[in-house]
């Protein structure tokens, strides 16, 4: 959609055939290279952090703080990468996170969890998230409701439902096993960060190494051609939204762990954050082209930015202005470098 306008020249570039790669251009064309611009932007940002905040930035604890912050929205963004690559969009992710978090922390759920195992909460969140995704997917694929509108409707409905279930109260978690598990670290790396890493790695494999991923590209790139090639486009679309719903459920679990609460206000504006991370990462909003690595970089750029701002005591409004400028610079950088690499 949007970028089509700008893409007139970009399309030309895009359509360039891959040349025989040599030396630097081969490097730039590699998976890591395709994201050169993003890597450079992230490195510059980190340099900025080191220069302005020195050790306070380059500290292990600080890096873990950034990663923990990135983890929740990161999991949502990985799921969003699939949906967008498959030619869709989902505005309801934040609301699904909220609803899942609320449902997984009702007194009833917590009671069952305490009587049996905390994993019940996890399953509840995944179930709720997955179900929401399924509804979205079905509305879009079989109901033929435009994705933007269908998920906008879900956004309203899911948040409303979350408020009704929680009675607009923050629900506090009292399931010791749950908190203990998610607060732990594996070899010094917090469990939340480990989960994010696993989701990102799993997402990468799924998108780039499986038939499911390949179909996702096909469905997003040219749904009619995909259909005529024998792909069940509608079923696949439903699967994509369900996958994203599951990611939202998982993100809800992570957010519950981080805040020890479930709340109808959780996940506010996650839709914008996730879409922004995905798009800045290089996934095409029009579908057919997506990169998990880019998304991870996108998430890291945004979270590192917040962190650097936090360390620097900038005026709050100035931060907003700076944020705008930095986003544009990052994209321009990515474009110039990606173009050079012939991507």
């Amino acid at each position: 959609m949007s970028e089509d306008t700008a893409a007139v020249p970009a399309q030309q570039v895009k359509s360039a055939p891959a040349k025989k790669e040599s030396g630097i251009s081969a490097l730039l064309g590699s998976p890591a290279g395709r994201n050169t611009g993003l890597v450079v932007a992230l490195v510059l940002l980190c340099l900025g952090g080191v220069v302005t905040a020195g050790d306070r930035f380059a500290d292990v604890d600080n890096v873990l703080t950034i990663l923990r912050l990135a983890a929740v929205i990161g999991v949502v963004s990985v799921g969003m990468t699939f949906v967008i690559t498959g030619g869709g969009i989902d505005l309801s992710v934040g609301a699904i996170v909220a609803l899942s978090s609320v449902w997984a922390t009702t007194l009833a759920t917590q009671g069952i969890a305490n009587d049996s195992h905390w994993i019940v909460m996890v399953f509840t969140a995944l179930l709720v998230g997955g179900a929401c995704g399924l509804v979205n997917g079905a509305l879009i694929a079989y109901g033929r409701v435009v994705a933007f509108i269908a998920t906008l409707a879900s956004l309203a409905a899911a948040r409303g439902l979350a408020e009704i279930i929680s009675n607009r109260k923050t629900q506090i978690v009292n399931v010791p096993g749950f908190t203990a598990f998610f607060d732990a670290s594996v070899l010094g790396v917090p469990v939340l960060v480990v989960i994010f890493a696993l989701v990102a790695a799993g997402g990468w494999v799924l998108l780039n190494r499986t038939t499911f991923g390949r179909r996702t590209f096909a469905v997003g790139g040219n749904p009619e051609a995909a259909r005529l090639a024998g792909i069940d486009v509608r079923r696949h679309t439903v699967m994509l939204y369900t996958l994203l719903g599951l990611c939202c459920g998982l993100a809800a679990v992570m957010l519950i762990a981080r805040t020890t609460t479930g709340s109808a206000t959780h996940g506010g504006l996650y839709e914008l954050d996730a879409i922004a991370a995905v798009v800045i990462g290089g996934t095409l909003l029009s579908g057919g082209r997506g990169t998990i690595a880019g998304t991870v970089f996108g998430v890291l750029i945004f979270t590192t930015l917040s962190n650097v701002f936090t360390l620097n005591n900038l005026s709050i409004s100035a931060q907003a202005v700076a944020k705008g400028a930095i986003i544009v610079v990052a994209v321009l950088l990515q474009q110039r470098l990606a173009r050079r690499s012939g991507a």
């Binding site: 607009r168 109260k169 506090i172 805040t259 609460t261 709340s263 917040s306």
Partner: protein, 320 residues
């Protein structure tokens, strides 16, 4: 509380003498929700102003946010940074409790402002507005004025409805009204902003063709509510504000608009938090108290401001 606008400078507690003497340097981290409405902006501004008065205070203010995850990481950054104190107005008190506990465990003095944590161990001290009390004050005032009208129509324009504090306010209001046999006939919610106030009020005025009293939770959105009332040409009712902005107080004083009263919800809580944080870190006491430690909790009062007492409150009111 004081505001950036007030001339008073040092008010409250008579702490000026010993407590204002420079002591050991105190680094304070400050985090609050997004300043998406005037009251919240005033909170941060007042905190900054207050910190500016002390040469021994270094204040670090971070981006206001409504994402609890981001706010948690801001506090984590403060902990990594080993600040001396953190003044925290959490977007959601319960959600920020674990990280506040972590800060306290790390030996950092946490001062909780406005929206309360759910563990007493998560903060050294808490500065609270009285949301429930606000509703009670507003309801009581309405009861007083309408006590002869058992069938009076009372309307309510709430703030962001998903926030627990809004629930508390509405609860207090409803309970106070029931004391005199009244109830809320029409209730809408806005989002603490001028625009949302105007929108909510415009619809509300259509929903209720005749109103006797209207309570609006927040004076920022009240600017919009007033605009809508003016536009509708309605004047059969009186209005009670909330939070206590300077312009509403001026209106009360001049008696030229729908506002006849407002209930204060001090926007100086952040500034008070800064002071308490400094005192706690420097091991000082709260001036006018005999107690040598600063108290666990300071709950601010939610007085009703009317034409009769407005002069007392106007100097400390915030400009929306």
């Amino acid at each position: 509380g004081n505001t950036p606008q007030s001339q008073g400078g040092d008010q409250g507690g008579g702490a000026k003498v010993a407590n204002d003497e420079p002591g050991d340097k105190v680094v304070i981290g400050f985090s609050a929700p997004a300043a998406d409405h005037g009251w919240m902006a005033a909170i941060t501004d007042a905190a900054k102003k207050e910190a500016g008065k002390y040469s021994d205070v270094e204040l670090r203010v971070v981006e206001g946010t409504n994402d609890v995850n981001l706010q948690i990481s801001q506090v984590e950054t403060f902990i990594n940074d080993k600040v001396d104190a953190i003044v925290l107005l959490p977007f959601d008190g319960a959600a920020l409790t674990p990280v506040a506990l972590k800060a306290m465990k790390a030996g950092i003095t946490v001062i909780n402002v406005d929206r309360q944590f759910d563990s007493p161990f998560a903060a050294r001290s808490t500065v609270l507005g009285d949301n429930y009390g606000m509703g009670v004050s507003a309801g009581t005032y309405v009861c007083e004025r309408l006590k002869d009208k058992p069938n009076a129509v009372v309307a309510e324009i709430a703030g962001i409805d998903s926030l627990p504090l809004t629930q508390d306010r509405s609860k207090g209001f409803a309970e106070a009204l029931s004391g005199c046999g009244l109830k809320v006939g029409n209730r809408v919610a806005a989002e603490f902003t001028v625009e949302s106030g105007e929108r909510a009020a415009a619809n509300l005025l259509q929903a209720a063709p005749k109103i006797d009293a209207l309570w609006n939770h927040d004076d920022d959105q009240g600017v919009g509510v007033t605009a809508a009332i003016k536009n509708s040409g309605r004047s059969e009712f009186f209005m009670v504000g909330g939070a206590g902005s300077a312009n509403v107080m001026r209106e009360i004083k001049a008696d030229n608009g729908p506002h006849k009263a407002t209930v204060i919800y001090p926007s100086t809580q952040g500034a008070d938090g800064i002071r308490l944080a400094r005192l706690a870190v420097q091991n000082k006491s709260l001036g006018d108290l005999v107690e040598v430690e600063i108290p666990r909790q300071v709950q601010l009062y939610a007085p009703v401001v009317t034409k009769d007492n407005v002069d007392r409150y106007l100097p400390t009111a915030f400009e929306s």
